[in-house]
């Protein structure tokens, strides 16, 4: 029966006609796609490094598809003029100057093996190659991983170990100014795509001996490198273990950025609010590390993930601590007011204008009516239209480069707004409301939180259109219930306000800098807290 119905809705399509959907896996189901069990993860390579040089070379050629992959360089040479050996590295990932000067030149020097005895791989590592970071291994998986990361591997005839040396020297961006978290007073450097550089940037700020940097691989067989940083003995060990557990569970190949990693590790994937803080500023990450947070850095991503994150962390700007206390407090108050305006103003205005005109004074009501006299669209549709246009301008301004982006903002904001009012597509009052909303939105320091605010704003506006203040209040309570039940790595999202913590630090106003001597109470660190 079902087949007959499906055939009927095919509208006489001929059998054998080519379709893009007819893949090798067969024709997809009418609804959705065929559910297949996920392929089993590839078995871990437990092989050891072979004593035969030819065998090792052959294995590498097969693993890296050397017949069609010209990136893999396999350079044979004679170690000390006596023993055959070969060097393996990936072209472009390894620094060729280092490879030539400190591996090949030193390795081919005659007489360098004159006093060699015992394990040859270890002897060459300790006496021949003049590299800073080097190790010997007999695990074949480690060799493959090292070569993929840009390190060089030296294999020696009749030796069951390989020497791995850090020759990573690929091109990367130098440290530049932050793009999204600019400050007037404070350091002007941001993370880059190089993991090692990012760790160095953090270590340069933090001079505590308890700062630990654990290197891990994530992303299934892709094995992208990441670093987990925390203060051993200070950071709550349960939090560290939870971070590690979640990172270990990732079995997706496409961990190509911090955003992906964040989604794969967060608890509530449908939450509009982020559950980790992403920052491009080393100073901010360092400050949070000192407070007992955990920072995760990913190779290839210019952002650090800081976990856990609460609402008050997300609403904090790195500049707050660089200002004097009164200035910092005023700016924070303005920021919270801006966020409230951004989320609530369109919905409240719409509710009052549509359902509760009695709450508006006669003057304001007359102005609203006069400005909307010639506008043909209902006020709800007008408001939503303008909110969407605002998002459109914002997205367009962000995607196009530099000055053109600013120009788009000006054209969109001023000229388009003026034209829309002149053409009676929008009223000036609604335009002012949306403009205020936009300004308020930019007061929110975190980009993900700005997007969350946009989601709340739009849904609250729709609720106001349908149900007036009743709709706004009900939906607002639902959102607050969601926030109250949300937890980021075990820390309540509204902490330390709700639930109340022991913390004496003010949440909105900026506290005394002397309060930064100790970690925050909500982090449950292993030291005395505020």
């Amino acid at each position: 029966m079902l087949d007959r119905i499906i055939r009927f809705f095919r509208f006489g399509r001929q059998d054998g006609e080519f379709e893009l959907l007819e893949t090798e896996r067969g024709i997809p189901e009418f609804w959705g796609s065929a559910r297949e069990e996920a392929p089993l993860p590839e078995q871990e390579d437990t092989r050891k490094v072979c004593k035969s040089l030819a065998e090792n070379e052959e294995r590498l050629r097969i693993s890296f598809r050397a017949d069609i992959n010209s990136d893999l360089i396999l350079r044979p040479f004679t170690l000390g003029g006596k023993i055959p050996a070969f060097l393996a590295y990936l072209n472009g990932m390894a620094d060729t100057d280092q490879v030539s000067d400190f591996i090949l030149r030193d390795g081919m020097r005659p007489g360098c093996l004159d006093h060699a005895r015992g394990n040859l791989a270890r002897y060459t590592m300790e006496n021949v190659f003049t590299m800073g970071e080097a190790e010997t291994t007999e695990a074949w998986a480690d060799v493959k991983q090292a070569v993929m990361e840009g390190r060089s591997a030296v294999f020696i005839e009749a030796c069951g170990q390989a020497v791995l040396m850090d020759t990573r020297g690929f091109e990367h961006r130098s440290v530049t100014e932050p793009q999204a978290e600019k400050v007037v007073r404070g350091p002007q450097e941001a993370f880059v795509e190089n993991l090692r550089t990012n760790i160095t940037l953090l270590r340069r700020i933090l001079h505590t001996e308890d700062l630990v940097c654990e290197m891990r691989g994530a992303g299934g067989d892709n094995g992208i490198r990441l670093a987990i940083l925390y203060r051993e003995g200070i950071t709550n060990i349960t939090l560290v273990e939870e971070v590690k557990r979640r990172l270990a569970q990732i079995d997706t190949r496409t961990v190509i950025g911090m955003g992906v990693l964040e989604q794969l590790t967060e608890e509530h994937s449908l939450s509009p609010f982020p559950q980790v803080l992403q920052t491009e500023r080393p100073d901010r990450s360092a400050a949070l590390l000192m407070q007992g947070h955990v920072v995760v850095l990913l190779d290839g991503s210019p952002f650090a993930s800081v976990m856990p994150a609460t609402l008050f962390t997300l609403m904090t700007s790195p500049e707050d601590v660089y200002m004097r206390r009164p200035q910092g407090s005023i700016i924070r108050i303005v920021r919270y007011i801006g966020a409230m305006i951004s989320i609530l103003l369109p919905a409240f205005f719409l509710a009052l204008a549509l359902y509760h005109q009695g709450l508006l004074s006669t003057e304001v009501l007359t102005t609203v009516i006069a400005s909307r006299k010639m506008v043909f669209a209902p006020i709800g549709a007008e408001m939503i239209f303008l909110l969407v246009v605002f998002q459109l301008i914002r997205e367009a301004g962000m995607r196009v480069p530099g000055n053109i982006g600013q120009a788009i903002g000006i054209i969109g904001g001023l000229i388009l707004g003026q034209a829309a009012v002149a053409a009676n597509l929008a009223s000036s009052v609604v335009l002012i409301v949306v403009a205020l909303t936009g300004l308020g939105n930019f007061c929110i320091p975190d980009y993900s939180t700005q997007l969350a605010a946009a989601f709340f704003r739009l849904t609250l506006t729709i609720a106001a259109w349908i149900g007036g203040l009743l709709g706004v209040i009900c939906l607002m309570t639902v959102f607050l219930a969601w926030m109250a039940s949300l937890k980021s790595y075990g820390v309540p999202f509204l902490a330390p306000f709700s639930p109340k913590a022991h913390s004496q630090k003010p949440m909105i106003l900026r506290g005394r800098l002397t309060m930064h001597q100790q970690a925050e109470d909500i982090m449950n660190t292993q030291e005395e807290t505020l």
């Binding site: 359902y355 309570t477 109250a484 709700s498 639930p499």
Partner: protein
């Protein structure tokens, strides 16, 4: 068993109790009957909360003396499993009834004062799902929202009393506290059907409150603040309107707020305040609904509380809709006899538990000596 209790602190607990008691006392008890013999509600309404607090302290003391972790365990200890089951069912029903009274009152208020053109059902469709949603997230979530709104709601309530201060006249208060004390005491006792369940629910969830002591402290603070707020509001109402006016008045507090905007340059804040109180009602309603589900699950179900909360919410919606159609009067029985049903058995439970624990202790000491 997943009861979604979480870990609730004293501040959250106190705010929750405050919101629940103030909402119930101000919006469930303020019907025409309360003003039948005068506007002595400024004593009787806080008196109802005070009586609830006394019973709460008695039960908390009994729990502490007998070493029981929550109220349900105390009832079993005092009367045995069978009577404990009956009393649990009673709490369950009364919590549900309080959720019903509160939501029904607010839905009617929103319908009658704001959305007069529509029927009650669309208003209920906005309110009840929100109550279910909050209750669904559990005790921790309810208490945390209460913490977020508690101070704001209290401050707004007090501020709304300050604006119409010009119209206050003390001569309108009748009877004065010492006159007709028997009527006032009777009114206070009758009002306990709306105040005791909130306190009992807190004792039922004492484990979520991290112990009886913590629950006791939160209950005392919440009830004390509620007594102050309710007394202030009722004094303000009593000094603004005579009791004959109040007998025919729908939601006196709303009318009081209407006074503040008369011939004022301020925007009309009456509806704004109404919606603020609605937030309190949503939180209190969710608390009662969750409480009913909690007692039911602790007693008779071994599984997740969330289906129970959803089911209770749907039943609540059905009851409210049926009432709207003029076919449901069953809940009026609770209004009439609820106070007796609550005060008598639970006072007895506390007394029996205290006596029993005293004898058990004595027996233990004798055995030790022997």
């Amino acid at each position: 068993m997943k009861l979604c209790q979480g870990r609730v602190g004293k501040q959250e607990g106190a705010n929750l109790i405050g919101i629940a008691l103030v909402s119930s006392a101000l919006f469930v008890l303020d019907i025409a009957e309360a003003y039948q013999y005068g506007n002595g509600t400024y004593v009787s309404f806080p008196g109802a909360i005070l009586l609830a607090l006394v019973l709460f302290l008695l039960l908390a003391g009994a729990m502490r003396a007998s070493g029981q972790k929550d109220l349900l365990a105390l009832m079993d200890f005092a009367f045995g499993k069978f009577v404990g089951n009956i009393l649990s069912a009673l709490i369950c029903v009364l919590l549900f009834a309080n959720a019903y009274f509160l939501i029904s009152r607010f839905a009617t208020m929103v319908h009658a004062l704001v959305f007069m053109e529509v029927t009650l059902f669309p208003v209920l469709l906005w309110i009840v799902p929100v109550v279910i949603y909050i209750a669904f997230h559990g005790f921790e979530c309810i208490a945390r929202i209460a913490k977020c709104f508690g101070v704001i709601l209290g401050a707004c309530l007090l501020l709304s009393l300050l604006f119409p201060i010009d119209g206050y006249e003390a001569y309108r208060l009748f009877p004065l506290p010492l006159n007709h004390w028997d009527t006032i005491a009777a009114d206070a006792f009758t009002g306990t059907f709306a105040t005791i369940p909130a306190m009992l629910a807190l004792l039922c969830m004492a484990q979520g409150m991290q112990g009886v002591q913590s629950a006791k402290k939160a209950g005392i603070i919440g009830a004390a603040v509620s007594i102050g707020l309710v007394a202030a509001v009722q004094v303000a109402i009593g000094m603004t309107f005579t009791y004959t006016e109040l007998q025919n008045m729908f939601v006196p507090l709303y009318r009081l707020n209407l006074k503040l905007v008369q011939e004022s340059y301020f925007f009309r804040l009456d509806k704004m305040l109404l919606f603020l109180w609605l937030i309190g009602a949503l939180i209190a309603g969710a608390y009662y609904l969750y409480g009913a589900g909690f007692v039911f699950c602790r007693r008779w179900s071994r599984y997740d509380i969330r289906p129970a909360v959803i089911a209770a919410g749907i039943i609540l919606l059905c009851c409210l809709t049926t009432e709207h159609m003029g076919q449901l009067q069953a809940f009026q029985v609770v209004r009439q006899y609820g106070s007796w049903l609550l005060v008598v058995p639970f006072t007895a439970a506390a007394a029996v538990a205290l006596v029993k624990s005293h004898f058990l202790k004595k027996k233990g000491q004798t055995d030790e000596k022997a």
